[in-house]
Amino acid sequence: MSLNSRHLWHFHGGLKLPSNKAVSTIKPITRALLPKRLVIPVQQHIGEAGKLLVKVGDSVLKGQVLAQASSYVSASIHAPSSGKVVEIEELPVPHPSGLSALSVVIETDGEDKWIELSPLHHPNTKSPTELRQLIRQAGIVGLGGAAFPTAVKVNTGPHAEIDTLIINGAECEPSISCDDMLMRHYASEVISGCGLIQYIVSAKHCLIAIEDNKPEAIAALRAVITEKALHTIEVVVVPTIYPTGGEKQLIKVLSNKEVPSDGFPSDIGVLVQNVGTAVAIHKAICLGEPLISRIVTITGEGVQQAHNMEVLIGTPMSELIEQSGGYHDDAAKLIMGGPMMGFTLQTDHLPVTKACNCLLVSNAAEQTADAMPCIRCGACATVCPAQLLPQQLYWHASSKNFDLVQEYHLFDCIECGCCNHVCPSQIPLVQYYRFAKTEIWNQERDRIKSDHARIRHEFRQQRLDREKKERDEKLRKKKELLAKKKIAEAETKKTADETTEIDPKKAAIEAAMQRVKDKKSAQQTATTNLTSATESSNEKSTQEQ
C-alpha cells in the first residue's frame, strides 16, 4: 500500500480500537426494497424545522419538496418515492429521548416516479452562490452524523479565505463502514463532489483523508484522481486512531493547526466535509437529485447479516433488519450510530433519517457492568482528544455546577466516548456531559423566555399606566367640560332671562313708569298753567288795587 509523502501530526489522546468493519464490507452495497410506508420526520437536521408544503391526500412524486427550509439554518425535505401523503402526525423519531416529532407519512405507489429533474452539465458556468442555492434546495445536511445544513457550512462568508478543503473519509468509529463502501463504489462521484465544493469555497487544495484500514477506498479514489489528472485533489492516508474523524482532530492531524475553542475551522482557513456529503452535492448539482437516500451500515453481533444498504430516507428500520436476515436470538439492543457515540433506540419501528449512518445490533455480552466510584486514575484525561479534564467535568456536572463545567470547557467536548471506554470504574462519563450540556441549553432557553416575559410584563404595566392616565385625562376633561357647560348654561339662562322674562316685565314697568311720567308731566303743565293764570290774575288784581 502506498503511503503519502505528506507529513502528519498527532492529536492528543485517542484510542486504538478493534475496527469490526470487515464483517460489513464483504458484500457490496444492496439497495433496500421500496417500503409500503415511508415516514419522513420534518426535522432531521440542526436548526429550524422546514415549512410543510403538502397536506394529507396529496399525491407526491419522488424528489418533490415536502417541507421547505424555513430560515437560514434549516433544510428542506423531499419525498423519497412517489405516492400519496396519508398522514401528517407526531410519530416516534430516532432520538435518544424516544420522543415523537412531526412527520409526513407517504404510502408509496411502487412506481418510484421522479419529478422533472434539471441536471447541470457545466456547473463551472454558474456562480458559487447559485450552486449553494442548489445545495440548499436539495436539502443536503452533513452526512457524517451531525446533520448540519451544508449550504450554511459552505457559505464561509466574504472574509474567511479557505485554503484547504478536507474531505473526511476517515470513518474512525468502529463497526461503521458506510463511508468506506461509498468511496469504493462511488469514487468518481466523490471526486466530482470534491471538485464542486472546492469551486464553491474557492479552496486551493483538497485533501481526502482516509484511515489506513480502508485500502480499497484509497485505491479507488486514487485511481479516479490519476485518471482525471487532478492536481489539486490529494488522498491522504491517516493512521487509524479513534477519533481521527472528528473535525478538529482531523485538522490537527493534517495541518497541525488547532481550531479555536469558540471558533470554526474557517477561522484557520479550513473547511471539512464528509465524503457522503460530497456525493450528495454531486447528485444535487450534476444530476439535480435532492437528498432522499443514504447508505446505512447494518451490523453487530445481534443481526444475521452485516452489510451496507442504500436506503431511502423514511424507511422503517425494522424492514432493514428484516432484509438483513433478522435478529439473532441473543440480540440485546439496537444502537443508532457506532458503539462509541451511538445511542440506544427503544424500538426498531423508527424511520431512517439523514443522520442515520449505522444500525448496530449488539448482543447481551456487550452490556456494561454497574458504575463504581471514581478512583482518580486520570486515564480519561490521557485519552481525551479535546485535551479536557474529564474527571473535573464529571465532578462538576454531577454536582450540577454548570458555571464551573463551562470554565472547564464542557462545550469543547465532542462526546467521542474515549473517557467512557477507558474508565476502570465504568462511569458513564459522556452521559454526565450530555446531561450538563442539555441543562445549560435549557437554562439558556429559560433565560430567553423570562427576558421575553419581563418585556411583555413591563409593556403591559406601561400600557395599564398609560390607559389609566388617559382615562383620568378623559375624566378630567369631561369634568371640565361639564363645569364649563354648567357655567355656560347658567350664563345663557341669565341672558335668556334678560331677553325673554325680564324684558316684558321691564317693558311693562318702563311703560308703567312712562305712563306715570307722562301723567306727572301732564299734571305739572296743567298746574303751571293754572298757577300762571292765577298769578297773572293776581297781578292784575293787585295792579287794579
Binding site: A101, D370, S398, R434, F435, T438, A453, H457
Partner: protein
C-alpha cells in the same frame, strides 16, 4: 515654610479630588438600583406572586432592601435560589418543603367550550398571553404563557386548566445518570 507648602499642596489635591468626585457623581449618575436589575434578571419572570409580592420586580426590590429571603420563588426552584445566593453572597436557604427542586413547567389552556367570554382572565394575565374580547371565546397564546396560574382564580366557570409544557426532542434533557449504580439500558 515647608509645612505651609505641604498643607497647601494637600489642600489643593483634596480640592482637586473633591471636584473630580463631584463631577463624576453628576456625570456617571446611575438611575435606579443596579442590584435590583441583577436580581430581577435571575428571577423567572412568571409574575405569579407566589413569593408574596406583586410580581418579580417587587420581589427583587424586596430582596435588595433585605425585606425578603431568597427562597420564596417556587417557579425558580433551587436553581434560582442558588443563583441569588451566589449573586448576593448570602448563605443558600432550603426551599419550602412543598416546592420541588426542579419545578415542572406548566402552561394553562382554556376549555373553549365552557368559556363565556367574561375577560376576567385577560385582566389577570401579567404578560398579555390571553386573546379574546367581551362575550367572545378566549384562548391562551401558549408560547407567551409563563405558567403563573393567575388567570385561574378569576375564572367564573373554571374553564382554565393547567397542563405540562410538552417536551420536544429539541428541548429534551439527558437525565443525570444514577451515580452509585448505573444500570445498563435495557434493550
Amino acid at each position: 515654610m515647608s509645612i505651609l507648602t505641604a498643607i497647601l499642596t494637600l489642600a489643593l489635591i483634596a480640592a482637586l479630588f473633591g471636584l473630580l468626585l463631584g463631577y463624576a457623581s453628576v456625570k456617571f449618575h446611575v438611575e435606579g438600583d443596579p442590584v435590583v436589575d441583577k436580581i430581577d434578571a435571575i428571577l423567572p419572570q412568571t409574575q405569579c406572586g407566589q413569593c408574596g409580592f406583586a410580581g418579580c420586580r417587587p420581589y427583587a426590590e424586596a430582596i435588595s432592601s433585605g425585606e425578603a429571603e431568597i427562597n420564596l420563588c417556587p417557579p425558580g426552584g433551587e436553581t434560582t435560589m442558588l443563583a441569588l445566593s451566589d449573586l448576593l453572597g448570602v448563605e443558600p436557604l432550603a426551599l419550602d418543603a412543598e416546592h420541588d427542586d426542579i419545578p415542572e413547567k406548566t402552561v394553562v389552556y382554556i376549555d373553549e367550550e365552557t368559556c363565556i367570554g367574561c375577560t376576567l382572565c385577560i385582566q389577570a394575565c401579567p404578560v398579555d398571553a390571553i386573546l379574546g374580547a367581551a362575550k367572545q371565546m378566549h384562548t391562551i397564546i401558549e408560547s407567551e404563557c409563563t405558567g403563573c396560574d393567575l388567570c385561574i382564580p378569576p375564572c367564573p366557570v373554571d374553564c382554565i386548566h393547567i397542563k405540562p409544557v410538552k417536551v420536544e426532542p429539541d428541548t429534551w434533557r439527558w437525565p443525570l445518570p444514577d451515580h452509585v449504580s448505573t444500570a445498563p439500558q435495557a434493550g
